[in-house]
């Protein structure tokens, strides 16, 4: 049983407090990608202490950094003789001056089993956008609550944003458990309430842990002595076992970053695989043109590969000359994304000016940038969790918006692919990133158009218009996305 192994491992660690020394060969055996997670909590929940404790107990803080820390934190040491961890984390002068975390900080630590990238996100409401930034790339969210106060409005807010950004694994760290005299009943009550909250957000993978970040209990080292009633894993054990983010249930996707033509005879399309996999011989379609081709080679610096999977940065060579430019998508021929000029989306407003109704922005998704008109329709009330009608979105607001494009856009729903379903909005004047967005799906086009079972839009036209439409520039440039049929009108 795993329970037995776990307690054995704990016994060994307790007997040998020195950090394990890994040789190069053992390190090379670390067989997973780094786990990315965010930490969120309210101002006094002890978030800095928790991260400080993680870094401290995994030996990620070096002596000279600790020395600078104790030099800067004179008189602020706690009763365990540890430095003020907030000073380690709040790297900007403004943060030190104001004593608050303003911006996302990225920290790195590792255990024998895995490497971690933690995005430490600010707790204040006015920095919701920074939390969304950290959450966009995270596999897991650690939410912190104070064992004495339980869930707060902030907890709901953070859990909602994390779920909205696609995080499907939550860890609830019930901190300062030592200040409740390790009260099991209180812990269970908070834990149950949080599980219910997570379920309303569609998150089923929830683990609660009673911790004392200050004393280092159940963070890296177990708190069995103080909490014999808790038999679950420590925080680090949960992080070691967590899975990478899912959400790529689509077929092959690659957004073309650049066309490589080093000389006559070689033409390769460079990009990062953002869904599915590919191998030589596979049939692909180029969007938006709809031209079809087969993969001839997958070229990388090291060798000609026999396959590439999601995440790989590659160069594709196709079997025939086709016109492909930066921003085009190369996708699986039998599992295509949605193509169209009207989509619905969720937005997080990141700029002080908010999102203005009907304004035209630049939208960037993958390597594709195009003009879009944005029409907000609703905003999420983070206190009640209810959606309310809205026409504009203020800074830090989360809302729904309709996107209307001049040229066809190519997306998957964010639920099925976090890369091909995500986008940013850029203000054309300031050139700032003003929103992060997640595609819900293509909007129903107006009468006469409807989605077909093959992913193409069917257009039904009277016979006398058919020929002229098929010869139009529009029909030619959308050959792969539409199916034109003869008929009187669309009525089903």
């Amino acid at each position: 049983m795993t329970g037995h192994n776990t307690s054995l491992a704990r016994a060994e660690r307790a007997a040998d407090p020195t950090p394990s020394i890994e040789t190069a060969s053992e390190l090379a055996g670390k067989d997973s990608r780094p786990l990315r997670f965010i930490t969120c909590g309210s101002v006094d929940d002890g978030k800095s202490t928790l991260i400080g404790r993680l870094l401290w107990d995994t030996k990620a803080v070096k002596e000279d950094q600790a020395a600078a820390l104790s030099r800067d934190s004179t008189g602020k040491q706690n009763d365990l003789g540890l430095p003020d961890f907030a000073l380690l984390l709040d790297g900007l002068q403004a943060e030190r001056e104001q004593g608050i975390t303003i911006d996302v900080a990225y920290r790195y630590f590792s255990t024998e089993r895995r490497a971690f990238i933690v995005a430490d996100t600010p707790g204040h409401v006015q920095y919701t956008r920074n939390m969304a930034t950290g959450a966009s790339t995270a596999d897991l969210a650690v939410l912190l609550v104070d064992a004495r106060t339980g869930l707060l409005e902030q907890t709901r807010r953070h859990a909602t944003i994390a779920a909205l950004m696609g995080i499907r694994q939550f860890v609830l760290a019930v901190n300062k458990i030592d200040l409740t005299d390790y009260d099991e009943a209180g812990y269970l009550q908070i834990s149950r309430a949080f599980r219910e909250l997570a379920l309303t957000l569609g998150v089923k993978n929830v683990i609660s842990i009673p911790v004392s970040a200050l004393k280092g209990e159940n963070i890296v080292l177990p708190g069995t002595a103080a909490m014999p009633w808790y038999e679950g894993p420590t925080l680090v054990e949960v992080l070691e076992r967590a899975t990478q983010r899912a959400g790529q249930s689509t077929g092959f996707r690659m957004s073309v970053q650049r066309v490589s033509r080093p000389g006559e005879g070689f033409r390769g399309y460079q990009g990062t695989v953002s869904g599915g996999s590919i191998k030589p011989g596979d049939s692909v379609v180029i969007l938006p043109s709809g031209v079809e081709a087969n993969v001839k080679q997958i070229v990388t610096f090291d060798l000609i590969r026999n396959a590439a999977v999601s995440g790989d940065a590659i160069t594709l060579v196709l079997d025939r000359p086709v016109d492909i430019a930066r921003g085009d998508m190369i996708v699986a021929i039998d599992q295509r994304p949605q193509t169209g000029t009207a989509f619905s989306s969720r937005l997080v407003a990141l700029s002080a000016d908010g999102i203005e109704p009907g304004k035209r922005y630049w939208l960037k998704a993958g390597s594709r940038r195009q003009r879009v008109q944005v029409t907000p329709t609703a905003a999420l009330d983070l206190q009640s969790g209810q959606w309310q009608p809205a026409t504009g979105l203020a800074l830090n607001a989360i809302g729904s918006a309709q996107l209307d494009f001049d040229e066809p856009a190519i997306f998957d729903a964010y639920d099925t692919n976090r890369q091909t379903g995500a986008f940013i909005l850029i203000d054309p004047e300031t050139r700032n990133t003003v929103a992060g967005g997640m595609i819900e799906g293509r909007r129903n086009p107006p009468g006469g158009l409807r989605g077909g079972t093959d992913g193409r839009v069917r257009i039904t036209l009277p016979g006398h218009l058919l020929e002229a439409f098929r010869n139009s520039d529009f029909a030619r440039s959308h050959a792969g996305e539409i199916r034109v049929e003869e008929g009187e009108s669309s009525n089903d």
Binding site: T23, G91, W362, F423
Partner: protein
């Protein structure tokens, strides 16, 4: 197969990268390609050190089978280790690099040295000001650098695309949000971006990647008997005639290596017996001090890196 022979030549002949390093490599290549495609005049800062060596290797991978589509820039203070300059020139020749070397003419004209002007003023003129001169002269709108977030507290908060005003300033309180792996490369005339493909790498990652990819390095990173002198708690290499000994200082031979490389009068060696890559990695795994501990310029005051970065330092 109908493959191009020049590609097959790069057959790996080594075990594949583990998923952790592969993920970091993929991310860096993605950033290289994105910047090269979106900006008009990119340049890559090349400082000859281990991070720059990894950066250069990744750039070659990103654009293979083509050449690196931008020049490299080395800001030469005139006080680099002699072995660094020799290494730079041999690498530039071997890889057929378009290398720009720039030194601030004020250095020679006004006799600015780390000994006479102090490390702070010297760094400001010979590194920060020199960098600004070179970027302006080349009208570069994007500059790649090898900075990592784990190096220093203010860097932990810096974006992968770090925006600079027309006078090269960084405003840490007003950074653009950076979500997913979608980078906003839109800037206004005169503005520029510093791009950091190695943002998410740690020092150990760098060394493990160097080992896995067999990347050549300046020999100073490996331990050897070298002439050193102890000054202000640092072991300074005493192999350059321009180093004048102060009263009481003695040159002695010690087994040392360097964890970072900069200007020789400002970069301390560490006592070490790590003569191979594996030994260096093993030493790092048990190291109890950070790599920037050997850098005099970081020790002036807390937050000194943030201050320098605001003024245009990399």
């Amino acid at each position: 197969m109908t493959a191009h022979p020049e590609i097959i030549e790069h057959g790996r002949g080594r075990p594949p990268l583990d998923p952790h390093l592969k993920a970091l490599e993929n991310e860096a290549i993605h950033i290289f390609r994105e910047v090269a495609a979106e900006f008009e005049r990119p340049v890559m800062l090349y400082s000859i050190g281990k991070d720059s060596s990894v950066l250069l290797h990744l750039a070659r991978k990103a654009f293979h089978p083509g050449k690196i589509p931008f020049p490299l820039l080395h800001v030469d203070t005139g006080w680099k280790f002699a072995e660094m300059i020799a290494f730079r020139d041999s690498i530039a020749a071997e890889y057929d690099l378009d290398l720009i070397v720039h030194s601030n003419p004020r250095g020679k004209a006004e006799g600015i040295t780390p000994f006479t002007h102090g490390s702070a003023l010297y760094t400001d003129i010979m590194k920060t000001e020199a960098l600004r001169q070179a970027l302006d002269a080349g009208k570069f709108d994007a500059a790649f650098g090898g900075a990592r977030r784990d190096e220093e507290a203010s860097r932990a908060k810096e974006r992968i695309y770090s925006f600079r005003t027309p006078d090269h300033r960084w405003d840490p309180r007003n950074q653009r949000p950076e979500l997913w792996s979608i980078y906003n490369g839109m800037i206004r005339p005169g503005e520029s971006v510093r791009a950091f493909p190695l943002s998410n790498w740690t020092e150990v990652d760098i060394w493990r990647y160097i080992a896995a990819e067999n990347i050549p390095l300046v020999p100073l990173y490996y331990a050897a008997p070298r002439k050193v002198v102890e000054r202000d708690g640092m072991l300074i290499l005493a192999e350059d005639a321009r180093l004048e000994l102060l009263p009481g200082e003695q040159v002695r031979s010690e087994m040392v290596r360097f964890r970072t490389l900069g200007c020789f009068p400002l970069t301390g060696a560490i006592r070490s017996h790590a003569t191979t890559l594996d030994e260096v990695i093993e030493e790092l795994e048990i190291a109890t001090v950070s790599e920037r501990q050997g850098r005099a310029i970081d020790r002036d005051q807390s937050g000194s890196m943030e201050k320098k970065k605001r003024e245009g330092y990399f």
